[in-house]
Symmetry: C4
Subunit: 246 residues, 4 copies
C-alpha cells in the first residue's frame, strides 16, 4: 500500500472514531450499536470497531473486515455479533460508503407497531421515503424463536433486501440501520431519524399529520445534502467537550 | 461611522453572539436555526452570522445584510440559505428589532397537524394570541415539491404576510419564526414558545384545556415584558458554563 | 438581636440559598419561581431573595419582609412581584415554615385541565391528598383579564384560602405553591410534586390508575418524613457540582 | 477469614460501590433505591450500604447483614428501612447473587395500572417474561393503609413469593425489584427494565404492539447475557466522569 493510500485509510479511521463518539453523545447509540465505513482503498472491505461500546472506541480498536464478516488480520479481537449487517449491505449497495446500526430510543417503537409507519414530518427527515420506512421482520427468516440479531450472512442479506435501495430500515423489536454515501451523511441520517421519529410521535398525538409529499422529500434531500458539515463539526465539538471525553 | 456608532454596533454584535449560544444551550436551535438583530445605525440592514452552527458563532462571524439578503461587504462568506426570513420581516415590520428562526422540537409537531392550534396555556406564553399561532403552508406559494425552505425574497415576504403583526409564525414541516422589539425579547419568546408548546401537548393529553383569555394575554404580556433580563442573565451564565463553551 | 439569634438567622439564610440552587438544579424552577423561609426569630416575618433567578441567589440577596410584603430594611432592592404568596400563607398557616412557588413543567398541565386531578400515585407523593390537589382559579378573584400573578395581599389571601390546610395548591395557567413545616420538607415536596405529576401523566396514558388510599397517604407521609435529609444532601452536592456553580 | 477471602470480599464491595454510582448516573435510582450483593464467602449474608443516597456511597458505608436484616457488626449505622427485600429474596432464591430495588421513573407507571402489563418489546429486554412482569400489591399483605414499604421480613417474603423464579417484580405505587445471578447482570437488568418500559409506553401510543415471543425471550437472553461487561465499563466511565464524582 502506498503512503498516500495508508494516509487515506488513517483519515477514514480517525473520522470513524469521531463518528462513534458523536453517535453516543447524540443519544443514537448507548453501550450497543455500531458504525462502519467502506474501506477507501479496497471497496470489498469495511472498517468497523472491535466489539465494544462506541463511546470508548479509539483508532487502534478499528478492524478491517471482508464482506463475509471475517477480520482481515489474523488474531484480530472479536468483532460485533452483527457485523453481517455491514458486510451484506456493502455487498449489495455499491453506493453505500457508511452504515450505522442502532437501537435509538424513538425509532424502536415504530419497529414494533402495525398500522403506523415511520414517515417524514419535516425537512430534516426528507431523506426518508414518504411511503414510510420498511420494517425487517426477522421471524420471516429466522423463525419465531431467534435472538433477533443479524448474526449470519444469510440474515444480513435478507436485511439488505428489505433495505432495498432506501436510506433506512427498521428491525422489529430491535432497532434500525441507516446508510449513507459518505460517513457524515450516514451519521447525519442516523441522528435525524431519531429526531424525526420523536417529532412524528408527538405530532400523531396532537391530530392528523401532514407528511412530506414525494416532491418535498426530493427537494429537501437535495438542499439538506449540502449541510452535513455544519452538524458534523458541532457534534464533534460537543462529543469532545463532553465529560465522557475527559 | 462615528466612534459611538461603531461602539453601538459592536455591542449589538456581542449580544447577538450571546443570543446564538443561549438558544443552543436552551435547546431551541441545534446545528440549524439562526437569530438576527436589526442594525442599530442602519435600520435598513440586519446583522446575522454567516452560515454555521449557532453554538459556534463568534463576533467575527457576524455579517451585515440588506433586506434583499445581500451581504454589504464584498467577498463575505456564504450566508444562511434562509436569510430572506429576516430581511423580509424587517422590511415589513418596523417594530421588529430581532428575529429567531428555529426547528425547536416541541413546536414542529404543531406545524404539521390540522385541528389543533398552538395556543397560550400559561402566563409565560401570554405573548402568543389566544386565537392560536398562524401556520405558514409553503405549498401555497412554492408548490407541492419544494425544499420547504425560505430561499427567496418572495417566500420571505409571504412568510412575513402570514406572521402579520403577531409575535410568531409556525412553518409547516419545518419550524417557527419568532420576533421581538428587542433581541432579549425575541430570545425570551423563542424559549417560551418551546416551553409552552410542551406544556400544551402534555395538558391536551390530560383532558380539555383552559387557555388564556384575550384579556389574560394582554395582562401577562404587560407584566412579563419587565422580566426578560432575569432569564437573559441566567441563560447567559448557563451557556458560558456549559462544557460546549470550554 | 443577640449573637445566638443572628447566628440562627445566618444559618437559615445559608440554607435558603442552598434551597434556591437545589430547586434550579432539580428542574423545579427556571429563571422564575421562588422559595422562602419564615424568620426564625420573628415569626411575623419571612426571608426571601430579591427579584432574581434562583440559581444565582447568594446570601447577600436574601431580604426580610413583613406579611404585607414590605421589605423591613429601608432602601431594599425590588422584591418578587408575587411575594404576597409567601406573606399571606405565613399569616394564615402558623405551621408553615417554608413556601416554594414554581412553574415546574409537569405540574402546570394539571392546573389547566378539568376532569383530571393531580393525585398521589406513589409513596413519595403520599403527602398530597388522595382527593386531589386543589386548583386556584384567579379569574374568580381578579376577573377574566388579569396577568395571572399574585401581586397583592388580597390575591395572596385568596390563594392561601384555596391552599387551606393542605401541602400544595395548583394555580391555573401558572404553576403551583407547596409548603412545609421545615425548609427541607418544602423543597422535598416541591421536587416530588414534579416527579409525581410526571408519573401520573404517564400512568394515565397506560390505563386506569390505582391511586393511594387515604390510609396510604397517612402511612407513607409518616415514614417518608424521616428521610428528607437523604435527598437534601444528595441534591446539594449535585447543585454544587453542577457547571452552573463553577 | 483468610487473606484471599477478605480480598474477595473487598473486591465485591468495590464493585458494589461502582454499582451504586452507575445506577444513579443511569437514572435508575435518585436519593432512594438500593443495590446489594450476596456475601461471596458467607452465602447466608448480604452486603448493602447503610441508609443513604446511592450516589454518595463509599466502601466504608457497605455493611454486612443476615437474612433477617440484622447487621452483623455490633453498633452498625442504620440500614435501609427496606433491607428485608434483599434478605428474603436471597433466602428464597439461591441463584440470586444481587438485588436492585428502585423507583425508576418509567417503571412506576406500569405498577399502578390494570389491564396493561410490562412486557418485553425488544431484544435488550428479553430477560423479562413475555407473559408480563408480576405486580406485588402490598394491600393484600399489609392492608389498605400501609406505608407501601417492605419494612418487615414477612412483607419481604411475600414480595419474594410474587417475584417467584423471575427476574423482576413491580411493586404497586412504589417501584420495582430486579435480581441477577451476578451484580453486573442485576445492574444491566435494572437499567434495561427502565429503558424497555419507556419503549413500551411509546410504542403503545402508536398502535397495537408486537411483543417478543417466548422463544425470542429465550434466544435474546442467551445472547445478551454475554454482553454485560460492555455496558458495565461504559457506565462506569460515565459515572466516574460525571460532575457528581468530582
Amino acid at each position: 500500500m502506498s503512503d498516500a493510500a495508508s494516509e487515506t485509510v488513517a483519515s477514514v479511521v480517525r473520522e470513524l472514531v469521531d463518528a462513534n463518539h458523536i453517535l453516543f453523545d447524540q443519544g443514537v447509540v448507548d453501550g450497543f450499536g455500531h458504525v462502519s465505513a467502506r474501506h477507501p482503498e479496497r471497496p470489498d472491505r469495511f472498517l468497523l470497531a472491535r466489539s465494544m461500546a462506541p463511546a470508548l472506541v479509539t483508532e487502534k480498536d478499528v478492524l478491517e473486515f471482508d464482506f463475509d464478516g471475517n477480520p482481515v488480520e489474523a488474531g484480530a479481537p472479536a468483532g460485533y455479533l452483527e457485523r453481517f449487517i455491514h458486510g451484506e449491505i456493502y455487498r449489495k449497495r455499491q453506493d453505500v460508503m457508511s452504515v450505522v446500526h442502532s437501537h435509538s430510543p424513538s425509532v424502536v417503537p415504530f419497529s414494533v407497531v402495525t398500522g403506523t409507519k415511520l414517515r417524514p414530518v419535516c425537512h430534516m427527515c426528507g431523506f426518508r421515503s414518504e411511503k414510510g420506512t420498511p420494517i425487517f421482520e426477522i421471524r420471516d427468516f429466522a423463525g419465531p424463536g431467534s435472538d433477533l440479531l443479524i448474526t449470519s450472512g444469510k440474515l444480513g442479506a435478507a436485511l439488505a433486501d428489505t433495505l432495498s435501495d432506501g436510506p433506512a430500515v427498521l428491525m422489529r423489536g430491535h432497532g434500525s440501520t441507516v446508510v449513507g454515501s459518505t460517513l457524515r451523511q450516514a451519521v447525519f441520517r442516523a441522528v435525524y431519524t431519531e429526531v424525526g421519529a420523536r417529532l412524528q410521535m408527538e405530532a400523531m398525538r396532537l391530530g392528523p399529520v401532514t407528511y412530506l409529499t414525494e416532491g418535498e422529500t426530493v427537494g429537501t434531500t437535495k438542499t439538506i445534502s449540502t449541510q452535513y458539515d455544519r452538524s458534523w463539526f458541532l457534534w464533534l465539538k460537543a462529543a469532545r467537550n463532553s465529560p465522557m471525553s475527559q
